[in-house]
Symmetry: C2
Subunit: 122 residues, 2 copies
DNA sequence: TTGACATATTCCTATATAGGAATATAATTT
DNA sequence: AAATTATATTCCTATATAGGAATATGTCAA
């Protein structure tokens, strides 16, 4: 049941490295499928498929002009990911690194004191 | 070849909703497998498997004490995701929304002027 | 040692999907 | 209309899992 449920949300869309590359390339300007696939060294069908996924989750828009299809970035959906990860920001700051050792020290101390009741959750 | 290559990087690890829930729960405190699985309503084997993935990408650490295994958040790996998405921040700000319509106006104008050479990339 | 408890692993199955090859579709040019 | 160009889709295959069931492993307690 590989990656069930939310099988196509933004988190999944950007889990694929090639799709991240595509989004990065689209920062500069809107691009045709051909330009993207050539620029990134991807096969055209593969590129089209990735773009389809990105479109489905709303990370890109298409603008058809003649036989070209210009894909344009719509990065608003990435905000969710940015904010979710941002919720962990305090855990990777320098301040935390210093606090961590101290906190762990405390935890070890408490445990030595026999604070088992609150330590083991279930 | 589902999700080839980087089959287990941080982006993939957090693509799974249950794993995101686990990480969120670990913000509060380190937790045993039992506490996590009970708290989130996950089966124990499923929980263990998710924790294994999170461990492999370095998002959690384990501390074995007796027959309990306390999993502890190590969110530093999320920084990469936060920064990558942060590179798109200017595309979802209010300022951008206002600029966007103007920029598109310009693009359309250029195209009308016959700027085809630089417009179509390949 | 035996039993209870906590967690990990194995086996199985269903499904998702990345990518290649071939083909379909659509618009443009000649 | 026929050929060309740009892109999408289909068909196929290999692989990656998510999750359930059963079992193995490890640790503590009696």
């Amino acid at each position: 049941m590989a990656r069930a449920a939310t099988t196509s949300d933004v988190f999944n869309a950007i889990a694929e490295p090639q799709r991240r590359r595509i989004l990065t390339v689209l920062k500069d300007r809107e691009q045709t499928v051909g330009a993207i696939s050539e620029g990134l060294g991807l096969a055209q069908p593969a590129t089209s498929k990735h773009l389809k996924v990105l479109k489905e989750v709303g990370l890109v828009d298409v603008d058809t002009r003649g036989r070209h299809r210009f894909y344009r970035l719509d990065a608003r959906g990435l905000r969710e990911v940015h904010e979710w990860t941002g919720g962990f920001e305090r855990f990777w700051g320098e301040a935390f690194d210093r606090l961590e050792s101290y906190a762990q020290e405390l935890q070890r101390k408490e445990r030595r004191d026999g604070t088992t009741r609150d330590d083991i959750r279930p």
